[in-house]
């Protein structure tokens, strides 16, 4: 096992990693920016090293600097967390070249899954369903139109190199396709320097269902069930749960097997996530594979009793997976709420500032992941997610109730946050019934914001 690893991240995930390393008796070097000098991870890391100014591009994204610090501090591995360099193939490659283990899959795998069109082709070859679309790149508008006629509207025009919604346009008719194709292509060229485009059937109101994967370097791959991440605002996940209420056990089995096939096709190892959309008729389609530990990983940890970060580190150190597929027993129901320093009433604008009073929930089946403390100043430089509250209970309804109680306890004075907004979601009849897809927040936003404003509690 590693003696020392470098943590190339901040906030709650840095705390998660440091705690896990301490439990495994691994020393941590925390590479932090000047803006984070008063942060909790700096207090708890074995060796905190300030690597640069607040701007991520001058600190957390400084690949060579991070590798340099890792070498000088005699770290055997780097854990990138999520975001920042976690899915950067070049960084993973540089680590490899410098004899440092990148805790994640190889640069090759990251690259392979990074090209959406290539990943799509690989999946098709391995009987993992993908949304109907072009068989490869489409070179011209005429070609795009032909494909769209074949698969039927609406369609999605996508850049192979795309990500974060850029280089992507919807078209509901032939008329719309022309401008969609042209603007997406132009955007892809300017954003990624690569205008390879392809077409996909646009799934309306899909469910976002993802499967957690664990693999080792001996070719063992298992899945740990799914997470339903359909509660999203502008493609940003807000609340996740496991198991999903929309999956039958047959469908769960089928999708889980497809996820394992997908991971095997990629020669995958480490922790990873296979994302699917599920349409209204319960057809599922591969979307992409995330090659990092995800924000919402605790949801899976709660139902599976597997420490994903620990397994990820063990596998990176060359060990075999601790569990086989048969060992994985999922029990109860887990929900996660992401607490963001943002103001729902002001369009979810970030609200950096100093926390004047802090009380977070606790008790039976309540897990908190955060780097906040009373007196801490939330920096305007980084992500507004400041805490994750995860609950685990016997049934979905029990978990919903437990989460309500937990959210009622959240007191973060000094900054606005979205805890009350999340609380309201838990009282929405459609959420309670499990009758929601990725369009839920958009469709009910007006209603929820009205409740928020009025301070009412929904249907109770």
């Amino acid at each position: 096992m590693f003696k020392r690893i470098l943590i190339a991240n901040r906030g709650e995930i840095a705390m998660r990693l440091i705690r896990c390393c301490r439990e495994m008796e691994i020393d941590t070097v925390l590479a932090y920016s000047e803006a984070d000098k008063d942060s909790l991870p700096v207090q708890f890391a074995t060796y905190p090293v300030c690597i640069g100014p607040a701007k991520a591009s001058e600190s957390y994204l400084q690949q060579d600097l991070l590798i340099d610090v890792a070498r000088k501090m005699e770290c055997e591995a780097i854990h990138p967390g999520y975001g920042f360099l976690s899915e950067n193939a070049d960084f993973a490659e540089k680590c490899e070249q410098n004899g440092i283990i990148f805790i994640g899959p190889s640069a090759d795998i990251i690259r392979k899954m990074g090209n959406k069109q290539a990943a799509r082709t690989l999946m098709k070859q391995n009987q993992v369903p993908v949304a109907p679309g072009s068989d490869g790149a489409v070179q011209t508008l005429a070609e795009a139109e032909a494909v769209a006629d074949k698969i039927g509207y609406p369609v999605l025009v996508k850049a192979a190199a795309g990500g974060g919604g850029r280089g992507m346009r919807k078209a509901f008719s032939k008329e719309e396709l022309k401008s969609a194709y042209e603007t997406a292509k132009a955007e892809a060229l300017s954003a990624f320097g690569d205008d390879e485009m392809y077409l996909e059937k646009l799934i309306l109101k899909p469910h976002h269902i993802e499967f957690q994967i664990l693999g080792d370097s001996f070719g063992n791959i298992i899945h740990l069930g799914e997470r339903d991440c359909s509660i999203q605002r502008r493609n940003q996940k807000m609340m996740e749960e496991s198991p999903s209420k929309v999956l039958s056990s047959e469908l769960r089995k089928e999708m889980g097997e497809a996820a394992v096939r997908a991971a095997k096709a990629a020669g995958y190892y480490s922790a990873g996530t296979v994302e699917f959309v599920l349409d209204q008729e319960k057809h599922f389609y591969f979307i992409e594979m995330n090659t990092r530990i995800q924000v919402e990983h605790p949801v899976t940890e709660m139902v599976s009793n597997v420490d994903l970060v620990k397994e990820q580190i063990r596998v990176a150190a060359g060990l075999r997976l601790n569990a086989t597929q048969a060992d994985i027993v999922l029990t109860g129901h887990a929900i996660e709420c992401r607490i963001n320093a943002e103001s729902p009433e002001r369009g979810f604008a970030p609200t950096p500032g100093t926390i004047e009073f802090l009380h977070l929930p606790g008790g039976n089946g309540v897990r908190i992941e955060t780097a906040m403390y009373q007196g801490y100043t939330i920096s305007p430089y980084y992500d507004s997610m400041v805490a994750k509250i995860i609950v685990h209970a016997e049934s979905r309804l029990d978990a919903i109730r437990k989460m309500r109680v937990a959210l009622e306890e959240v007191m973060v004075q000094g900054i606005d946050n979205n805890a009350f907004f999340q609380y309201l979601i838990l009282y929405h009849p459609d959420y309670i019934r499990g009758n929601y897809d990725t369009s839920f927040l958009e469709e009910h936003m007006g209603e929820l914001l009205e409740w928020h404003k009025a301070g009412v509690k929904g249907e109770r």
Partner: protein
């Protein structure tokens, strides 16, 4: 900023020759005055220690398990406190060298007089050597960074006094 800080401030005021004091800081405003004594202009020398007030100090347990951390923190803090001293800080994270080569003399020693722009040390980062130049004319009063050890970005390497 808490009430203890305010008390400390008032004690200072009380003990000083000041007759009036007003301070606005971190959402706190204070002003006070007294008779007798001569007017002295007050400058705020304590921002750092004050802002540290709301930070979790390492507890006893923490102190034992993470001595490096604690030391680094304390070192940095204590030196930032004294505003009258001039600081030479690391412009980049890397290995600090006091001399150009192991067999050579250090660029500077405590007591040396330096001119702004004089090389006082080097930091090796990503296989590049970066010369550290004195940002002031003055005398080096102490050297905080250890030779051939990693220094953090912004870490105080040396202190000096202007002449």
């Amino acid at each position: 900023m808490n009430i203890q800080d305010v008390y400390a401030l008032l004690d200072r005021f009380e003990a000083s020759a000041m007759t009036e004091l007003s301070l606005e800081m971190e959402g706190m405003k204070v002003s006070c005055s007294k008779f007798n004594g001569e007017a002295v202009t007050y400058t705020n020398a304590g921002t750092q220690s004050v802002s540290g007030q709301n930070r979790p100090d390492n507890t006893r347990i923490e102190k034992n398990t993470v001595p490096q951390n604690q030391n680094t923190q304390t070192k940095a803090d204590s030196q930032e406190q004294n505003a009258s001293l001039l600081e030479i800080k690391a412009p980049i994270v890397g290995t600090f060298y006091r001399s150009a080569a192991p067999d050579q003399e250090p660029f500077v020693q405590v007591g040396d007089t330096v001119k702004k722009g004089d090389v006082v040390g080097m930091i090796e980062a990503m296989k590049m050597m970066n010369e550290i130049a004195a940002p002031f004319d003055g005398v080096i009063t102490s050297i905080a960074a250890e030779n051939e050890k990693l220094v953090s970005f912004g870490e105080v390497l040396m202190l000096g006094e202007s002449q």
